[in-house]
Structure formats: structure tokens, C-alpha cells
């Protein structure tokens, strides 16, 4: 009786077996290796690391494999692993001006010190399916200039800032760790940025897009996007000085926005900031747009659009939370539904009784 819902242990075990089988697919097709995922689905790995907030390419690749390419499920897997890791402390803030950039563009100036470096990008591809990729075969390596690791690129924002045209970046504020502390509102900017960095790319993309369509417009320009390797430094308590512990790939977006000025501040440009692991330009740009939109109140702008609504944005950006809660509707709810049935039946009975009474009254007249 009622096996479909009251599944019991066996049914669940069978479901898990079936899932594992589905994941592997046809055994005649070679199994994916983590290296293949890392190397050939690198942008998926980047997204899983960013929203999983854990920089580990092989773990992210494993999560993608286990999740059968469902990136939100992979992000969830990585998060649930990350949360069990011991926490040693905070690294020093990344110095992205020391980045060894593979790509760096600015749309605010035709040329900038260090030049526009296009690097690998889909921007100039024609979106035509390349059927030659349907077959395997070696591809020629791209010609590369000799690496100039000493070259550092000054950030466009810093140049504008020296002129007083762009607001200085906010002072270094110690941030709580959102994975250890609950989100409290109103949130500080570091907390907001942390939330957005972990936030769902699609959600932020749609919100960022909405600001461009009049829902909280703030006239953005891409001051700069850069992608490349930066060192991560950490000060162990027992040493007392910084040591370099890793090099990671990040994408940074400095969005420059108009600002009319206020009583105390003359008109100048303001910043929206985005940062993502790996090569994730869409995410970094969307984050920068939303970051700027969320500063409406701080800058005494009228905050009337969804992207400017801190509570709305921060409470709904996390796809692990959202996915879990939406999908929990699949759990049995029959007790609550029974309560509703009882109430609705009683209400219907009352309406019916009233109708019959009215009919009787009418007949009596």
C-alpha cells in the first residue's frame, strides 16, 4: 500500500543505483577523466569554483562529473565538501595590479598603459557551429609571444582615481565570512560583494541586465576587465610575515558609473566591482553592475528597482539555497494538504448549506 511515497530503504537504494548507472551512461563510450573536464570544460570548472567558493580545479571537475554536468548540482557538491574544511584564517587581499594578465581590455579609453590585450575570448568569434570539432584530431598550438612575467599593467581605475575623476576604493574593511556568519541586514559592502561572488551567475546577469533597461540605470562603462594569475599570500601566526601559498586565475571587472555628486562631494565617477575565479567575464560584469546598483542608498540615489533592493538581491542570489527550496516541494506535504482539505471542505459545506437554506427560504415565500 502506498509504496510510491512511503518508499522505504530499498526503493531509495535502487534509485541511487540507477542514478550511478545513468551517470556513467553507455559503457562503450570512454569514461571522462577529471583532467579532460579540467582542460576541455575549463569554463564550467571556473563557474563551479566561483559559486562553490572553493578554488580547486580537480574537486570542481569531480563535482561536475558526479553531477553529470549539472553545474548547480556540482556547485552544491563542492559547497557541501568545502563546509567541512578547517579554516586557517584570511589571506591578504589579492593585489590584482600585480596580475600576470592573459587578457585585459578597457572600453573607456582607446589605449591604456600596457595596451589592450585581447587574449582568449569568444567576443570576436562567429557563433557558427564548427563541425570540425565533431571529430577528434590535433589542433595546432596558437603562436604565443615570449611570456613577460615582469610586465605589470597599471589598473585603469587607479589612473582615473589619481585625477580625482573616480572615487577611491573603499577602505579595507574586515569582512565577516558569510559561510560562518549568517547574513544580517543591512549588510556592509564587503559582505554584499561576498554574497554576489557566490551568487548565481544567471540571477546576477538578469539583474545586471535589468539595470541597463531602466530598472535602476547607472550608466556603466567597462573601466577594465582583466583575467590572469595572481599570487595569494597568507600570514601564518607562527611566522608573522606573509608567504605566498598559491597562484590562482581570477577575472576582475572594474565598472565605472556616472554619479551626479551630492552636497559634500563634487560629481565624479563611481565604481561597481566584480571578481570571479578563473575566466568568468559574464559573472564578473554582472556582479559589478549589481554591486553598483546596490550602492544606491549610500550614494543618495532613489532606490526603486529590484537590483537596488539589498534584501531582495542578497536573499535570493544563492543558487544552492534557491535550488534546494524550490525542489523541496517534491517532498511529501500530505499532512499540510490534509489540513487544507479539511478547511476547504468545511468552507464548501457552509456555502452549500447557505445555498440550500436560501432555496428553502425562497420556496417558503
Amino acid at each position: 500500500m502506498y509504496v510510491a511515497v512511503k518508499g522505504g530503504e530499498t526503493a531509495i537504494a535502487h534509485s541511487l543505483d540507477l542514478l550511478a548507472d545513468k551517470r556513467r551512461g553507455d559503457r562503450d563510450v570512454a569514461e571522462l577523466s577529471l583532467e579532460q573536464i579540467d582542460q576541455q570544460l575549463g569554463l564550467a570548472v571556473d563557474r563551479v569554483m566561483t559559486e562553490g567558493s572553493c578554488y580547486d580545479r580537480s574537486l570542481a571537475a569531480l563535482a561536475i562529473k558526479q553531477a553529470r554536468g549539472d553545474l548547480i548540482e556540482a556547485i552544491f557538491l563542492l559547497r557541501a565538501y568545502r563546509t567541512t574544511l578547517p579554516r586557517f584564517g584570511d589571506s591578504l587581499p589579492l593585489d590584482t595590479s600585480a596580475m600576470v594578465a592573459e587578457r585585459r581590455i578597457s572600453s573607456t579609453f582607446k589605449d591604456v598603459p600596457g595596451g589592450q590585450v585581447l587574449g582568449p575570448t569568444y567576443d570576436y568569434t562567429h557563433r557558427l557551429l564548427d563541425f570540425s570539432l565533431a571529430t577528434e584530431g590535433d589542433r595546432p598550438a596558437a603562436p604565443t609571444a615570449p611570456a613577460d612575467t615582469n610586465r605589470t599593467l597599471p589598473r585603469v581605475g587607479d589612473i582615473l582615481e589619481r585625477e580625482g575623476m573616480l572615487e577611491p576604493p573603499p577602505l579595507d574593511e574586515a569582512s565577516e565570512d558569510l559561510t560562518r556568519q549568517p547574513l544580517t541586514l543591512p549588510a556592509s559592502r564587503p559582505v554584499r560583494l561576498q554574497n554576489l561572488a557566490r551568487g548565481d551567475e544567471g540571477f546576477l546577469l538578469a539583474l545586471g541586465y535589468s539595470t541597463q533597461r531602466g530598472y535602476g540605470n547607472n550608466h556603466p562603462f567597462v573601466g577594465e576587465i582583466r583575467y590572469g594569475q595572481v599570487p595569494v599570500s597568507f600570514v601564518p601566526e607562527e611566522l608573522g610575515f606573509a608567504i605566498e601559498i598559491a597562484e590562482i586565475d581570477v577575472t576582475e571587472c572594474d565598472m565605472v558609473n556616472q554619479f551626479a555628486g551630492s552636497h559634500d562631494v563634487p560629481p565624479q565617477f563611481t565604481r561597481g566591482y566584480g571578481l570571479a575565479f578563473g575566466h568568468s567575464e559574464r559573472k564578473a560584469m554582472a556582479m559589478a553592475l549589481v554591486d553598483r546598483a546596490l550602492r544606491a542608498e549610500e550614494l543618495s540615489e532613489s532606490a526603486t528597482s529590484p537590483a537596488q533592493d539589498e534584501e531582495f538581491v542578497l536573499a535570493h542570489s544563492d543558487n544552492v539555497e534557491a535550488s534546494g527550496f524550490v525542489q523541496h516541494l517534491k517532498l511529501p506535504h500530505y499532512v499540510d494538504f490534509q489540513s487544507e482539505l479539511v478547511v476547504v471542505r468545511a468552507l464548501r459545506a457552509e456555502v452549500e448549506a447557505r445555498r440550500q437554506q436560501a432555496a428553502l427560504d425562497q420556496a417558503a415565500e
Binding site: 555628486g261 551630492s262 552636497h263 543618495s300
Partner: protein
């Protein structure tokens, strides 16, 4: 006698713009004070500062509370200020939608203040709400309708009932007849006048309409560019304006 409400040196800016500057006045029990001026003259900002909805940069507002004695409105804890604003005060918005819960019935709208202070008898709350519909000239059988089904004028009357049900001593009104047809306006003005009289209400009324001011207010303050340029008894100010700006305002309307 003590003033019910006193403002001293109220100043508030938005960015570089001064919305109201150095405003002083006393409101006496039973008095209706009008604040007139063109839009942008700072009258709504002033009203919001008086009602504790906006914090002034300089100056103070004191209120002679029945429950707490004389208090500084902006020094009160939020708990007390919110309690005051739903017991001893009322606030009538120009846009009734801001002052009503549009998703619940008229009865619930009127009953909210009663329930907030502990009323727990459904039948009694309903009776009181019905009585108030009568008083604001809405038919009793509209009690269970939502304000979305009401006309603009009815919504405004409902908002008035929702505010007055707790028998406040002081009511703030922001263009209570703004945006309504002239015939609808007249009916609401009559209603307000008779309620103010019968309930011995004190009120601060913001309006750009000198006709409304003449009908409802005892005393008038004329604002221009955030400052009070003239004040006095309403008839005096309107019949014999002294300041050039007031003269311009008076000259630009048809006689009432």
C-alpha cells in the same frame, strides 16, 4: 496652556539641496495649522520631520503626549515613536494606497489600530469598523470589500477612518484631497471639517491649494524654497498677504 507640538530650528537637506530651513512654530490644542507653498517648497519634508518619519539635521520637535508627557519626537525610542504614531497620532497620505493595506478588507484596515493595541473580539472590531464607515459616509455593506474596489474618494475616506478610529489627538495630513475630482474634494473637505470639530482634533495640513487651506485651517505658514516667508491667521494671510510670494500665490488662484 502648553503647545501640543513645537518645532524649533528645523533644517533638513537632501544632498546639496535645502528642503527646509530653520522652521519654528507652535501648534496649540484644537488648532489646525496649514502649510502652503508650491511643490518643491519643502512642505512635505517639513511634515515628515514633524511626524518623526524623517530625521532633521538640525532643530527639534517636541510633543505634549498624553501617555509620556512632553517628549522630543526625535529622541524617543523607535518603540515609543511607533506606538505614539498609531495611538495618539494619525497620518493621512495624499496617495491613499500608501496609507492603506490594499490587500485586505476595509474592516481590517479600520480594525488594525484596535487590534494592534489588543482588541481581540471580532464582533466588536467589526461593529466599530462599521460605525466608522458610517461616519466617513461609506455604505456599511462595503465593509468586507478591499480598497482596490473603492473609488479614489472612498479610499481617501477609508484612510481617514483608519487613522481616526484610535481617536488620535493630532493628525498630519499631506494633500488629503490632492489628485481627486473637484466634487469629490468638496465632500472630503466637508467631512474633514466636521470630524475635526466633533473630535476636537489638532492637525497639521500640507496643501498647495489655498482653497483647501481657507476651508480647513485656522492658521497658515507660507513656505518658499524651504523657508517660512509668512505666517498668521488664515483669513488674514489670504485676505491681506504681506510677502510678495504670498501675494503671488493668492493672486494666482480663483477666489474661494
Amino acid at each position: 496652556m502648553k503647545p501640543l507640538l513645537s518645532a524649533k530650528g528645523l533644517t533638513r537637506r537632501f544632498g546639496a539641496r535645502v528642503a527646509c530651513r530653520d522652521v519654528d512654530f507652535d501648534l496649540w490644542p484644537g488648532e489646525v495649522l496649514g502649510i502652503v507653498g508650491e511643490s518643491g517648497s519643502g512642505k512635505t519634508t517639513l511634515l515628515n520631520c514633524l511626524a518623526g518619519r524623517l530625521t532633521p539635521e538640525l532643530g527639534s520637535v517636541t510633543y505634549d503626549s498624553a501617555a509620556y508627557g512632553t517628549v522630543d519626537v526625535h529622541d524617543l525610542s523607535e518603540a515609543r515613536r511607533r506606538l505614539l504614531s498609531r495611538t495618539e497620532w494619525g497620518f493621512v497620505n495624499q496617495d491613499a494606497r500608501e496609507g492603506l493595506r490594499m490587500g485586505v478588507s476595509a474592516g481590517a484596515n479600520i480594525g488594525e489600530r484596535l487590534m494592534a493595541v489588543g482588541a481581540r473580539h471580532y464582533g466588536d472590531i467589526r461593529r466599530t469598523a462599521s460605525d466608522w464607515l458610517d461616519r466617513v459616509e461609506i455604505e456599511r455593506d462595503r465593509l468586507d470589500d478591499r480598497p482596490t474596489a473603492y473609488s479614489g474618494g472612498m479610499r481617501q475616506r477609508l484612510q481617514i477612518a483608519r487613522n481616526l478610529v484610535s481617536e488620535p489627538r493630532l493628525v498630519f495630513m499631506d494633500e488629503p484631497t490632492g489628485g481627486l475630482d473637484v466634487s469629490v474634494q468638496a465632500r472630503i473637505l466637508d467631512l474633514l471639517r466636521s470630524l475635526v470639530d466633533s473630535l476636537h482634533l489638532s492637525a497639521v495640513l500640507v496643501t498647495h491649494d489655498l482653497g483647501v487651506a481657507r476651508l480647513l485651517t485656522h492658521r497658515l505658514m507660507v513656505m518658499q524654497g524651504g523657508a517660512v516667508v509668512e505666517d498668521g491667521l488664515t483669513d488674514q494671510v489670504l485676505d491681506d498677504p504681506q510677502h510678495a510670494y504670498t501675494q503671488m500665490l493668492v493672486a494666482s488662484i480663483l477666489p474661494v
